[in-house]
Symmetry: C2
Subunit: 334 residues, 2 copies
């Protein structure tokens, strides 16, 4: 049973193939009479256009590639949600590829997307392999790097200073009078590392010791990991007075471990999260955190891509700092 093609529809409707094509893409360029005949034929045959053929013939794919490290992390799910909304509404397909936090897989992801002839690429982070950068540059298409600020953007760049955010969060704890402040993290991707740098900078400027707690085996951030890491710290001796977690999940895990051990938050220990996930505000005690603007990042990235794709004038090398906001809540209130 052969697949139905445009020609089949044209034959049934008694028109030329191009007319069918027009009815499907720009119905108003066709007279109502023919349009009706064609629509009827399409329906009768259950015709579904072959997108590959359309892409090949028109040299347009109406597809945008998006690379994220993972879908596990809600942050990226929210970001994608916003991206998706804007791009799909504008008639674009969003092709999502995971890099699994690996620069090598990111490289393959870029190749795969270029093979698909996507019209733009939105990529998480600003650190890529040399070849990745080269591929993205040579492809001559709009590229948006997100979630971080690059000293040397490939093209567009929408993000925030992860380092400043880390520093701000740490300073908040220092100002709270805490001195033994630990930094908790699982997977140290480039963004977590920047926050860590910010933490260290803040500690150093206050003349305080660096108390890092980094999962030995990189594990993706989770509540369970937070519990584990915190338990480990406690068992290792002198507990910190405060902890700054790279992620609210870790913070929640640490909080639960505290409860188990009868350690009071914030009386015995202050806990600071990151990203302001939706449960942070309603945790008990409520969790201090740092708001990051994932939705806006996704929305803006998508809009910039659309703008670049629509108008021919490329407003190159734009960098947008979306900032962040510290939200002090009960978990760090003395």
């Amino acid at each position: 049973m052969r697949r139905i093609t445009l020609d089949d529809v044209a034959n049934l409707a008694g028109v030329s193939p191009i007319t069918v094509s027009r009815v499907l893409r720009k119905p108003h360029a066709v007279s109502p009479a023919l349009r009706l005949r064609v629509d009827a034929a399409v329906k009768e045959l259950g015709y579904v256009p072959n997108i590959a053929a359309s892409r090949l013939a028109s040299a347009r794919t109406h597809a945008v590639g998006v690379i994220v490290p993972t879908l596990y992390n809600v942050i990226f799910a929210e970001y994608l949600f916003a991206l998706h909304d804007v791009l799909v509404a504008a008639g674009f397909q969003v092709i999502v590829v995971n890099s699994r936090y690996s620069e090598v897989e990111e490289e393959s992801a870029i190749k795969a997307l270029l093979g698909q002839r996507v019209e733009a690429i939105i990529i998480t982070g600003t650190h890529h392999t040399l070849l990745s950068r080269q591929l993205l540059t040579q492809a001559r298409l709009p590229v948006v790097e997100t979630f971080e600020l690059s000293p040397d953007p490939i093209d567009l760049n929408i993000g925030m200073s992860q380092e400043q955010a880390g520093q701000t969060a740490t300073r908040h704890l220092i100002e709270g009078g805490f001195r033994r402040i630990a930094f908790l993290t699982g997977n140290l991707d480039h963004r977590a590392r920047s926050r860590f740098d910010g933490y260290r900078a803040a500690m150093e400027e206050a003349g305080l010791p660096d108390l890092q707690i980094i999962a030995e085996k990189p594990r993706h951030s989770s509540v369970a990991l937070g519990s584990d890491l915190f338990a480990l710290t406690c068992d290792r001796g002198k507990a910190p007075e405060a902890i700054f977690c790279t992620d609210d999940n870790l913070a929640l895990g640490a909080m639960q471990e505290c409860r188990k051990r009868g350690i009071r938050v914030p009386d015995d220990i202050a806990i600071m999260g990151f990203h302001d996930l939706e449960f942070a505000a309603c945790a008990a005690p409520s969790l201090s955190s740092v708001i990051t603007r994932r939705f806006e990042t996704g929305k803006l990235a998508a809009e910039k891509v659309l703008a670049a794709l629509t108008s021919s004038l490329r407003s190159k090398d734009q960098q947008i700092d979306l900032g962040f906001a510290l939200i002090p809540r009960e978990s760090t209130t003395v």
Copy 2:
């Protein structure tokens, strides 16, 4: 600046286009000498094959379509993760489309995927519009419906009885001696509705009253929603002795609201979750829940698709019940 094509590579390497094509797809069918020349030319020109052309010419897309309601829900992120792993390793592209819990959007999603000429479709749930079913049937490709069991599967079906799971969870509470048991839910998608049916069946068989608490405006399950719904219940008068939440997120929210109000869990109220999200075990008190096998669902669905795509013998109408498991923890222990 024209895009590099296979012909360009062939010219540079001094071979025919078909040889380049072979080097890329079945390198062992080409002599080492030519292979090296071609590889060099590919690298020198930075050639990236046009997948649309390849798909059109070969009538194979090596793409599998997956429809999920949303990416917000970790359940689907985990499921996709497993799916992805299997399919990508086998050389397939995974095209993910969201239906946003709408049967109408699901229909468009199916059309979009068929337009892409995906070789199989893996779809969440067993309830679809009439046209959706028709499209899926007529397309004559492997279809896997997941997460539920269908009385009349389109093709393959891998899932579990949501209703039995709901009934089992409710019985567990009833056996704990609770009588005023409420059912908490936000968005009532088909699976949540089935769990609800199970809840009602259990309550009815025990001769107990139905105490449902359903969000007025459908909202996706979240910790905040759990807090809100539970607060609402408390303010409305006589509090239930136990609650069964469609989702661990709701359960966690309810638990936090309890803490805020000084209601002890499980002494004053028992709380039962669903899905056994990763924080359930480490919550304080630990949260009773029902394990659902998202990873296995994804993995198996992908494997079945591969099998159907590889061997020509279609093992039609298979249905696999992956079951579920009740995990009693502190939150329901009297």
